[in-house]
């Protein structure tokens, strides 16, 4: 363990990088889509629709694929979920639509709804068809903060109503986590940007990048200048482990590293450790673990303080990590990070269990894993500085903005959605639904005048 840390770029051949970061689940061919679509029973009051946070009429779009009405299929999807293309790629379908498929009840494989959805939306995108038109201008202007899934979905729905939208985005590109956060092999061929272009293609939406709330503009100013404000801020702060070695080189915030990976054109220039430890149990943990493995890391271990059932990553995601050679160790929490010459070299964990009241406790038993890099994927939080310079305060509870069922905050004329709100479940599809609901509420409010 006294060896120097081994973190370097170019562990793989160009062909290996290409293969490892190509489409993890290649699209269905037309014939595969027909065969799969034929498996859909066209259920009445279909459970899959209920399981979809955006309520896509799944049997109807699958029937469109069956009948050769691909355009109608895509429109059915996008009408309910403007990011149907991304969601088809990244949704944990095993716990959403496909998990509700009645085929499972007969002990069979569920219909591959995600893959079929991708088939239909890709068909539309490949042909450059724009099925949506902007409504007749209403003269109302709305500010949307954050060009992630929630903000874009909200802006698109408002543009359909004819409102004028200005999106303020602190990063250089729109797309939010679709562009900066999701694993690369789920969003190949610049899909996030193609989708952004499709969404903005409706017209009536101005995108201003490089503008951060609390730094370049305040909530007070937005409320003064716009009829309504939608906050789709995401979560920009990262939880800390609270351990002494946390500032050692090689200890990374997983989200920041994935962002760097997503923006690196030539992955052979991205350094990665030989031995990797990931702490966390959500999709970010799975994504950083799998991607570092695919960058050429020799061993990658996810350590989670509770059991597999408590991991927020879906069973299919956990399986995916394992099939990529990632080890998952449960019931252990980090207690010390050890370094050599200012760089992390190992992490020590204490085994955990539940006490009689069901609370997590340490057993006192320890083990140490060698680590050239340690990734923290233990969740994110709202950054309070976003509200700098805002005289009025909106309610924040447990680090998330408080909203009602229509996604109204406690501050007049301010709505919020996506990861920054209390009810969020950390999924693109849920953020899209937030944006959609907020837009409907904003529209009602504006039209009630």
């Amino acid at each position: 363990m006294a060896d120097a840390p081994d973190v370097r770029a170019g562990r793989l051949s160009p062909a290996e990088y290409r293969r490892n970061f190509d489409d993890a689940h290649p699209p269905l061919t037309a014939q595969q889509a027909m065969v799969e679509a034929a498996r859909c029973l066209f259920c009445y009051d279909a459970p899959c629709i209920e399981a979809c946070p955006t309520g896509i009429d799944i049997p109807r779009f699958i029937r469109g694929i069956q009948s050769g009405n691909l355009r109608g299929a895509a429109e059915t999807i996008l009408e309910a979920n403007i990011m149907g293309g991304t969601c088809a790629r990244v949704c944990p379908t095993d716990v959403l639509c496909e998990g509700a498929c009645v085929r499972l009840a007969e002990g069979k494989k569920p219909v591959e709804i995600g893959a079929l959805q991708r088939h239909a939306v890709d068909w539309l995108f490949e042909r450059g068809i724009q099925p949506f038109t902007r409504g007749a201008p209403t003269g109302e202007r709305i500010a949307v903060v954050g060009a992630g899934p929630a903000g874009l979905a909200c802006a698109h729905a408002l543009a359909r109503h004819g409102h004028e939208v200005v999106i303020f985005e602190k990063r250089a590109k729109a797309g939010g986590l679709n562009e900066y956060g999701i694993a690369a092999y789920k969003m190949v061929h610049d899909f996030a940007q193609r989708e952004v272009a499709f969404i903005l293609g409706i017209g009536g939406i101005e995108l201003r990048t490089g503008i951060e709330l609390g730094r370049d503009v305040t909530l007070g100013e937005l409320r003064r200048d716009f009829a309504a404000v939608f906050l789709g801020l995401g979560l920009q702060g990262v939880h800390a482990l609270g351990l002494a070695g946390e500032r050692l080189a090689g200890v990374h915030d997983a989200v920041a590293f994935i962002e760097r990976l997503r923006q690196t054109k030539d992955l052979s220039t991205l350094p990665v450790g030989r031995q990797i430890v990931v702490i966390g149990g959500g999709n970010t943990a799975i994504d950083i673990a799998t991607q570092t493995k695919r960058l050429g890391a020799e061993t990658v271990t996810i350590v989670y303080r509770r059991g597999p059932e408590q991991m927020s990553a879906s069973p299919a995601e956990q399986e995916w990590a394992k099939s990529n050679g990632v080890a998952i160790r449960h019931w252990a929490r980090p207690v010390a990070i050890e370094g050599v010459e200012g760089h992390v070299r190992s992490v020590t964990f204490e085994r955990t269990r539940l006490d009689r009241e069901g609370r997590l406790e340490g057993t006192g038993e320890r083990f140490t894993l060698p680590a050239d890099q340690l990734f923290k994927a233990i969740g994110q939080k709202l950054v309070p500085s976003a509200f700098n310079g805002t005289a009025e305060l909106l309610d924040v509870e447990n680090g998330k903005i408080v909203v009602d069922a229509e996604r109204r905050t406690t501050l007049d004329r301010v709505w919020a959605g996506g990861d920054c709100i209390g009810s969020s479940v950390d999924l693109t599809v849920a953020a899209v639904e937030d944006g959609k609901l907020a837009a409907a509420s904003i529209h009602r409010y504006l039209m009630a005048g």
């Binding site: 061919t29 037309a30 014939q31 027909m34 034929a38 066209f42 009445y44 109807r60 029937r63 469109g64 069956q66 009948s67 050769g68 009405n69 355009r71 109608g72 429109e75 059915t76």
Partner: protein, 426 residues
Amino acid sequence: MADLRCEIAGVKAPNPFWLASAPPTDKEYNVVRAFQAGWGGVVWKTLGEDPPVVNTSSRYGALHYRGYRMMGFNNIELISDRPLEVNLQEIKRVKRDWPDRALLVSLMVPCTEDSWKRILERVEETEADGVELNFGCPHGMSERGMGSAVGQVPEYIEMVVRWCKAATRMPVFVKLTPNVTNILAPARAAKAGGADAVSLINTINSVMGVDLDSMAPLPSVHGKGAHGGYCGPAVKPIALCMVGEIARDPDCRGLPISGIGGIETWRDAAEFIAMGAGSVQVCTAAMHYGFKIVEDMISGLSNWMDEKGYRRLDDFRGAAVPNYVDWGQLDMNYVVKARIDQDKCIRCGLCHIACEDTSHQSIRAIKENGKRRYEVIEEECVGCNLCAHVCPVEGCIEMVEIDTGLPYVTWAEDPRNPQRLAEAAE
């Protein structure tokens, strides 16, 4: 967005998708649900004289084909088993509440002028858009001298249609039975009688199977089975043929057609319209999946028409009719040959064995270093399409047109025709 409105024999509807006279159109409750779902029209389930008929228990049979449910479907149900007055009141209410939808009323009464006159008067009071004379049902009612018992005798058709035309101002549609040797005879009879339109096909005589334990034909009623009316996706080719026959018949020229038979998707409907139908009627697909299927039918037809640049149904209605010809008008010099895409081939050998055992021995089976390979022997291939049909891989076997440089030659003009040689010798 394409204009899907249709008008047939003066009956207007917002789209050509109608529900055929059958259980789905038996009462107000169903019909209102259908209109709410978006159907453009309905033909109310056949009304008869009181007292209403009594139906059997166990009524439907189905042909499931290797995991696909209801490829074919049949029934031994009779006409409406509800009192005439109840039906008429409901029809009147529905027409009043849904004025933009087509509402035809199917009728079947004994073969006397009086019976027809009486019921037509009653139906007129409902302000329905028209009537459809049920000369089609092949089971049950035919044993009582109605349904297909009338539809199989052209003289009866003409006679009854004439009575009806004299008795009512409403457009008269005649629903034809396919259980005849030539559909043109009843179609021409309907036209001669003054029919405003024909609807076809009604169901086909059928026995769905035999229960090999009880030795009962299916569907069975207490161990016995009667023939029923066959419908569903499996009958579409038969229906298309009959619709096409009427559409291209000079004697039937101008006779509007409401197409029926195995229509399940917008594509099926478009095919019937291309073959001359002015509207289409659906039953089995609705009985299988519910009324919601009309959503994709409307959206699919509209998107397809937009893609093709058709603005109205009339822009492509009957477009396939001029191409529907007698065998004797086909081009004897046209040549296609099978081509196997070796990259797509999965080496199942089905093309080879189909050709080798049952056709023209023009696909060679080769084994090289333990690897299978199937190759077309071009000189032997007659272009029959069999291999392309049995091939399980989409686009793997293509029938490619060979340019022979020869002109379009029909059999009558073909030098290989012995009669032509004989004529030339004379």
